[in-house]
Symmetry: D2
Subunit: 380 residues, 4 copies
Amino acid sequence: MVAGARAVARGWSEPHGLLTETPMFEGADLPALRGLVFGGHDIRRGCIFDAAREIYEQTGTIPYPMLRQLAPDLRKVTAELRRGTLLNAGRTITRLADRAPAAKSVRAEVRRLERDIRAFTKRHKLTQCVCVNLTSTEPQLRLGPAHRDLARLEEAIDRDAVRSVRPSLLYAYVAAKLGHPFIHFTPSNAALVPAVRQSFDDSGVPYMGSDGKTGETLVKSSLAPMFKYRNLRVLSWQGYNMLGDRDGVVLADADNKRAKVESKDALLAGILGYPLHTHVGIDYVPSLNDLKTAWDFIHFQGFLGVKMSMQFTWQGCDAILAAPIVLDLIRLAALAQRRGETGSLRHLSCFFKRPLDVDQHDLHQQWHLLADYAQRARQG
Amino acid sequence: MVAGARAVARGWSEPHGLLTETPMFEGADLPALRGLVFGGHDIRRGCIFDAAREIYEQTGTIPYPMLRQLAPDLRKVTAELRRGTLLNAGRTITRLADRAPAAKSVRAEVRRLERDIRAFTKRHKLTQCVCVNLTSTEPQLRLGPAHRDLARLEEAIDRDAVRSVRPSLLYAYVAAKLGHPFIHFTPSNAALVPAVRQSFDDSGVPYMGSDGKTGETLVKSSLAPMFKYRNLRVLSWQGYNMLGDRDGVVLADADNKRAKVESKDALLAGILGYPLHTHVGIDYVPSLNDLKTAWDFIHFQGFLGVKMSMQFTWQGCDAILAAPIVLDLIRLAALAQRRGETGSLRHLSCFFKRPLDVDQHDLHQQWHLLADYAQRARQG
Amino acid sequence: MVAGARAVARGWSEPHGLLTETPMFEGADLPALRGLVFGGHDIRRGCIFDAAREIYEQTGTIPYPMLRQLAPDLRKVTAELRRGTLLNAGRTITRLADRAPAAKSVRAEVRRLERDIRAFTKRHKLTQCVCVNLTSTEPQLRLGPAHRDLARLEEAIDRDAVRSVRPSLLYAYVAAKLGHPFIHFTPSNAALVPAVRQSFDDSGVPYMGSDGKTGETLVKSSLAPMFKYRNLRVLSWQGYNMLGDRDGVVLADADNKRAKVESKDALLAGILGYPLHTHVGIDYVPSLNDLKTAWDFIHFQGFLGVKMSMQFTWQGCDAILAAPIVLDLIRLAALAQRRGETGSLRHLSCFFKRPLDVDQHDLHQQWHLLADYAQRARQG
Amino acid sequence: MVAGARAVARGWSEPHGLLTETPMFEGADLPALRGLVFGGHDIRRGCIFDAAREIYEQTGTIPYPMLRQLAPDLRKVTAELRRGTLLNAGRTITRLADRAPAAKSVRAEVRRLERDIRAFTKRHKLTQCVCVNLTSTEPQLRLGPAHRDLARLEEAIDRDAVRSVRPSLLYAYVAAKLGHPFIHFTPSNAALVPAVRQSFDDSGVPYMGSDGKTGETLVKSSLAPMFKYRNLRVLSWQGYNMLGDRDGVVLADADNKRAKVESKDALLAGILGYPLHTHVGIDYVPSLNDLKTAWDFIHFQGFLGVKMSMQFTWQGCDAILAAPIVLDLIRLAALAQRRGETGSLRHLSCFFKRPLDVDQHDLHQQWHLLADYAQRARQG
């Protein structure tokens, strides 16, 4: 994401994949791409130039000559990275980390994250700061009273109730506290629990989630309405996903996978309006690295009860699909804050597998929400 | 189509595939399915029960026990079939015919078709009659002055200008003359030439076309917007269609195929808004019979110029997909006439590969036109 | 299988799928197809004509008019069916049964099965009788001392050690006892335990197994050698199987599935000669009934380390693929007995996913074993 | 090919794709990979380092850091390239050239090619020189008396009968004259006409062709036998190939394509033993560059006449698949010469779509020819 943002900003690459660079948003009060400053918390050490080079070696998606030109930019961002939190992250994510988890207490950890972000915005004299949760999919958090109400959450943090938090909850909580718009890009259920949403709402800060819709689910939500338009009855929709990067490692853990599968599976019955046989498989195939491959099989019934089928194979590079969406969301969240919008940003539903406060899963209906918004935003 | 209409009307089969049987049109002034009476012109002799049995033997799509129960209904409709016209139909279609073409002159042929339809409506005391053009795809007609203006078309017919007509032109012309709504379900360019449209418009009779959107093109028009929504640049869209029925025989003739390919190919640039590399292949594969199989390959470019791909295989039974659409169109054309609508029925664009007077190829946008119309129609 | 055997014997259908009807076996001393008499043990009640009609209704694979003509033949075979055994069959298979399991003891059950088969061969004055195990995949049997040696197995049966047997063990044991060649067409590990093989070997009766190679695995074993021939390194081979019939119900039970997956998965490393990442998924998709659909994705590496891929979709009707193989195996087992062959019939390895006593999984190598045998058999 | 040969020779890349680097040929008297010296005739100017960089930019198949390390090697080979001949090459190939075609006469051109090769072998003090024809597929040459007999071919060359030659004929003719083994890697019919073969045979020089079997056809020849093994009747086999490199440009010309399609299409009926419906499409899809994508659909009939299907998608990088085969063939041709073999090298049939003097298209049978040969060669 960082490499691409810089490459486009410097004019070294076309802005394919970025909606905020199309005429749709011309004239809207978006922050300029070249003005974005990146920082973050990461549970793994190391330079993001090296990470980008690893991506090049595995999948070739960042052209090598460009990568070398971007090295100074990437090194600069590396200097802005701080140690991420691993508080109750679950064993699989914890195993991925190579930075020692050293939280004295939940409250201390919260303070550390806060301090880091404050220093970052101050150092760069930022007028706005958008926080995006890009952590690996966490095991589902069992929700309790501490998650229903802000006061009780504060209390849980104070009494060091580690089991009641997850990293994504802490990041969201801190963003709300600091008054920064928040984008929840993963399916983890801990980030936007009611208590955290209350905090955002209290301070009038916009947020949206959850789980970026980048590949197979995007296709699903684009294709499923067609069957409805023709009154063709979908009998079964089987989806098989294969991926081989760190996401794949995390999702190979059944606890972490559950949240993801639910997020991917919910939308079909919603679009079609009836229950149907579905399956979402996610398998770890290391040799694929980031080149996610999905195969979907759709069995449907038409006139005279005749059964027919459709199948598709999606071969997309996950990071390449996700990165521009994250950039779009950052800029659109900043725009929303500038426009004084609060609460969940429902017009961004087309970017998410589980759009907050939006029941509509039909991609085309979601698109109209965004298109209408863009028109208003263009007019100021 | 006839077998299915009767099977659904008698309650022997679910109305899958029929939009006019969904809540969407509940309360609209549609003719009842069980009230439809079928007749027609055909260039091939023989009982439609035998034709239906042949379909069973080749693809099994009509369940055999139901077929036997439908025999009396199908024999009754057979008695309503008259000899179709072959005037300037082209060699491939003419070769399919087994009824001797015996036109004395174009005008005599026109009178015969007229007489047949008049007798049919009288015999059954019909209040409305919708004509549907389901002839095989004809070679493209080179348009000239005779097609631009009704008076000159009449004149051409009178001086027996056989080269200026095609069967589909004659059927449309006769429908207009008799004041019957007309549905042009094939890509032949002869049916709705300006002179014929003028005739419909003069008498205030509605019509729509052309080329039913049943399979691969339907998927295309549902999927292409997704790439636009994400600003993913489509580099190439290759489509390969295989089919093995009489349609396949006709489309194996390059003259007839041209019209079809153009109809299938036009929409992508329209939806995406830029020119792109496309290909539409249609091959005759006899063993498939009616079980049309299409494979599409979509090559697209995302962030940082990375190329990715998607492919789909569509395995649909062409007749099973087309039949309910034809029934829907018959009923919706009748509804339009009842509601006093005239001209091209643009709200039916979602059913056609080349919707008349509609530039919008995005299936979802087309759907909204129909949904809005249905809402108005439900309210009377 | 019965319907097809009769249809081909009566000349109503071509012998597609049957290798024993090709010139390959012309002149070999095979029992004639029309001379085969069918009987069996089944855990479900009911007429096999009704079962065949159900197949017609679900998938249309047996043409309806032929089905009606075959009714007398099918009813005759129904009269030969006896109650199957459910001794320690596992909960999922037991749930499928609609005939009351009423075994007094293991030994009593063995005697009943024996009696049934003896009566069958006597009633029809058969000169040979081949037993085929077509039971659903059982949960794996934990093998112990009772399975290593015939005397100890007899002893276990006598002391009613229900946990030490499975239906497929009992059928194989009885076949050996009666001196009938035995074909083990499923992956259940209980059928051909050493003790049972000892019994066959003692009486010089031939047998073979296990798990008929009908679809996706057949393709695998045909395709994998190609990668070896080109020194292309297979990195991952993912296989996803979907099926919806009773087999699917049974394999949805993880206990039963395990045996099947192992049987499908073993062969790749064997053919390629190195360990590789593989996955075999089997999912129950009811709407598919017997029309099994499998998708395989093969990721491989070539010159300069470049990764490439191949994928295939197999859409086969499981019963239609298996039935002729079972008929071939029956006839080839009878031939082997006539030729005085004993022990495992290794020349039949090409028909099995896990061929007994054969390490070779390359389909083409297996084929040569059969072709050489056929040549010898043709010459007497 | 050159980049890969050097990378493997220097130990910078694994020898994936090279059969001559496997234990199969251990101990055979093959020339060492690191000892190979490359030169050639090319119709396009320019450095092969630049060509390799272009490949990197388009498809990323040569890793960039390795490419830079290889630069000196590639520049050295560039210095060995001479102007290729364009005599009667056809318009499409001629259009690709950027070196002025300047042949005074056919004989003069022959002398020039001869001179170049002689100088090359002398300059590097080579003990053996293998010529490989890698020119683009030419339009088919209409064969006449001049091609049947060496004396008449000489005469035609002397009377400057330009229409009777093609570049590939001239290269083969010169190789024969100089006594160099010759590998014909393309489908052009001009290379190994009887007159040229006579020249090779007269001087006892081995040769083989034609048309390297690298991708879709390789899969076909591996898969088709499976249907025979099961007596499954193949009804239709449709193959669609898409490619976007210079090969694609040449094959977009119908004259050039014809030879290729015939080469790809012939083998199925040969393997299966009966005529069947086949189709081979080749389409130019520029965005794919060298990443060839093929889709095949196989329709087949089994027991009880039931139709089933299989489809596969092959996504291979053409150059990456072809390069190691060319290296294998160079080394195996050199080995054959060392072993005193003459005439067509039939044991190399597995590498060709149309193996000279070999009727067998079954990949597995072809493989046995090579495996047997390798065993003999290993033993000296």
